[in-house]
């Protein structure tokens, strides 16, 4: 018998997009539509268009392997995980899973605010498929991991969001399936908690269990996986060793124009009321371009609309190297006064713009990610690889030596040479 953990063969998933963009209909609508245009209704009874969220996906994985799945928003990553965790049924193709599958599609599913931490551990554990005896034997471990022992008998509606997340992750992390499917759990929580989650996940992997890991966080992908598949518009573009796949993902398939416009299909429904329109990089002459000079200031613009007012919104950028290392993160309301004066951002059309000073970057390609969130409340939209641009270091410090300068930044520092007598 082979050591196969899972085999995916030509899996595809087709969705209907309802034209009125509603997720459920009423009988009345259906009757009215049928009367209005009987022929159309006969041909296409739901009045919807079909599109393939995922198609022709085939791969296999052996026990003990950790596979990363990367791709931009709307590439089909989450759909693939949902199929493998049996939440949705594929439209075509076959997948075989050898072993119990546990999924962390979103931690805290089934948590009930009125129940206490203790009660939720048992409930959530049962929903995730754990036996009662299994939960009992791991109960102390779960409580210790989540660091909420004092509040274990308090209803979780009184928890801070951090406590809630810790407890939710703790339950999921103590599930011990042969195949673990993880989607973006690391997007939440503080740095310390994220570190703990990553640690737990590498434990899982080192115990010889199989992990499928979807994330936009390239440093997490690089730390946890040896191999990745890259999805784009529902198709599998490549399967390769992680460094190669991450490099491909971060640098390929960008428009070379210095601007990224968002199509409606790329924006997840839960981004509402935030709607990203475009991200741009401009040079000192206010021209949108992919090629930037390190010796001149670079302007980054995020253009978006808000359908309704948002309290505490912050729109910001991540800057990363092409290898996925963060250079910096910055938000438009980092200045406390700006944050106060913009505590409620009205519905409307905005551009958040910042200027990166001259002499910041070293030579190479850089990636801009954007994030729109209300701190500790909701992450409306995030795109870790919205756009990339090239930096040319002509005229930068030290260019008279033809050598590769290490490090992503190349600041012009104020060197003084003092001669001591």
């Amino acid at each position: 018998m082979s050591n196969l953990a899972l085999r995916v063969d030509d899996i595809g998933k087709q969705y209907n997009i309802f034209k009125e963009n509603i997720r459920y209909s009423t009988l009345r609508d259906k009757l009215v539509n049928t009367l209005k245009s009987p022929v159309k209704t006969l041909i296409n009874p739901t009045g919807s268009e079909k599109f393939w969220a995922l198609r022709h996906i085939s791969f296999s994985l052996e026990h003990g392997q950790v596979l990363g799945i990367i791709g931009k928003n709307g590439a089909g990553k989450s759909t693939l995980l949902k199929i493998l965790s049996r939440v949705v049924e594929p439209t075509e193709g076959v997948a075989e899973l050898y072993g119990r599958v546990g999924s962390l599609l979103e931690v805290g599913t089934g948590f009930h605010p009125e129940l206490t931490g203790r009660e939720n551990i048992f409930l959530n554990g049962a929903i995730l498929g754990m036996k009662r005896t299994e939960i009992e034997s791991k109960f102390d471990e779960i409580v210790a991991f989540s660091e909420i022992d004092k509040f274990i008998d308090t209803p979780v509606k009184r928890y801070s969001s951090g406590m809630y997340m810790r407890l939710a992750f703790a339950v999921s992390a103590h599930l011990e399936p042969e195949i673990l499917v993880v989607d973006e759990v690391l997007a939440v929580g503080d740095a310390e908690f994220q570190r703990k989650c990553l640690g737990k996940m590498s434990d899982v992997a080192s115990q010889g269990r199989t992990v499928l890991f979807v994330s936009h966080n390239m440093s997490a992908i690089q730390r946890l996986t040896q191999e990745c598949i890259v999805l784009d518009e529902g198709k599998m573009v490549m399967r390769a060793r992680t460094p190669e796949a991450v490099d491909y993902y971060l640098t390929n398939d960008f428009s070379e124009s210095g601007e990224r416009r968002y199509k409606d299909a790329e924006i997840p429904p839960d981004a509402h009321p935030f709607k990203p329109l475009a991200v741009r990089v401009k040079n000192a002459a206010d021209v949108t371009t992919d090629n930037q000079l390190s010796v001149e200031p670079i302007t980054v613009e995020v253009e978006y609309t808000l359908a309704t007012d948002i309290t505490g919104l912050r729109v910001g950028v991540y800057l990363m190297t092409s290898r996925g290392e963060y250079v910096f993160t910055s938000f438009d309301t980092d200045d406390p006064e700006a944050f106060q004066s913009r505590s409620v951002r009205k519905a409307g059309h905005f551009i958040s713009r910042c200027t990166i000073p001259a002499d910041t970057f070293n030579e190479g390609r850089f990636v801009i990610g954007i994030n729109a969130s209300s701190y500790m409340v909701k992450r409306y939209f995030g795109d870790e690889r919205a756009l990339s641009f090239n930096v040319n270091t002509t005229g930068a410090p030290g260019m008279h030596w033809v050598e590769v300068r290490h490090g992503p930044i190349r600041p012009r520092l104020d060197w003084r040479i003092e001669e001591l007598r």
Partner: protein, 284 residues
């Protein structure tokens, strides 16, 4: 631990994921594997139901009791509806109890899929568990209300007979009916939210089609077997027979027809639910 996992994986057959077409099997074995989840969800529904309510579990008594008081005043005293030679209050309470069990179970089961949409779109488990657990959670209310009935039987000096042994079967019959319709309505409600508005109305109408405030003996003899096509007729008159010893309204044929219909509803409901199941996560 790891070696254990290695050993078991050799013996288990792979889980095969592929598109299903048309009518599919019931997979009752899955339901058995997840039996603990049924228990936990039932327990959650119970815990949550009366949180932040002052009277809490007393509501389980107050609802049927107040209904009985109103029925007695208007239908018993003013309208002088016959009650098969039993005092009207206990006549109506004996019927209100199973009726409330059915109506509550049906109400929560119908809404159950939509109110648990968060779980359905995130995690796999046999979806049938959700309506099942919500039906189970209404049984507790029934038993609390039952204590009042025992009190009333003492008060009216009605002693139970051997026929009382039928009760568990009759309770089961009410639950099967609620569950069967619950499968239909909860699956339909995922697609059409209208069901949420229709169900309370159907439930009210249905009560008047069921001999709760009047005896089935008021129905002309020749229509009575047709009347038994309403499975709750058999349940309610069966209850009166089992507890109060009334024989005017009930017959073996009535119970058989009611049971047959309710089993039919359950089986068709199960298959319909399973057929729609694959679309739930996409549509909910």
């Amino acid at each position: 631990m790891t070696t254990n996992a290695l050993d078991t994986r050799k013996t288990i057959a792979p889980v095969v994921i592929k598109p299903s077409r048309g009518w599919v099997g019931l997979r009752l074995k899955d339901l058995w594997l997840y039996r603990e989840l049924v228990y936990f969800l039932t327990w959650r529904d119970l815990k949550v139901r009366y949180k932040q309510s002052v009277l809490g579990i007393l509501w389980a008594i107050l609802k049927p009791f107040m209904a009985m008081v109103v029925f007695t005043i208007f239908f018993g005293n003013f309208a002088k509806i016959p009650s098969d030679n039993v005092p009207y209050p206990i006549f109506s309470y004996t019927a209100t109890l199973p009726w409330e069990l059915f109506a509550t179970a049906l109400g929560v089961a119908s809404r159950s899929m939509v109110s648990n949409s968060n779980m359905i779109s995130k995690i796999y488990f046999p979806r049938m568990i959700i309506p099942l657990a919500s039906v189970m959670s209404s049984v507790v209310d029934f038993f609390i209300g039952f204590t009042i009935l025992i009190g009333m039987m003492f008060f009216y000096k009605i002693s139970p007979t051997i026929a009382t042994l039928w009760l568990p079967l009759l309770i089961l019959l009410a639950l099967i009916t609620a569950l069967g319709i619950g499968f239909w309505s909860s699956a339909l409600m995922v697609r059409y939210r209208d069901v949420g508005y229709i169900m309370p109305f159907i439930s009210t109408l249905w009560m008047y089609l069921t001999p709760v405030v009047y005896p089935a003996s008021m129905i002309p003899e020749k229509w009575r077997l047709l009347y038994a096509l309403n499975p709750m007729t058999g349940v309610v008159e069966g209850f009166r027979y089992a507890l109060l010893g009334t024989t005017q309204s009930v017959s073996a044929g009535m119970i058989l027809i009611s049971s047959g219909i309710s089993i039919l509803i359950l089986i068709t409901g199960l298959f319909y639910f399973r057929r729609m199941e694959k679309q739930f996560a996409d549509m909910i």
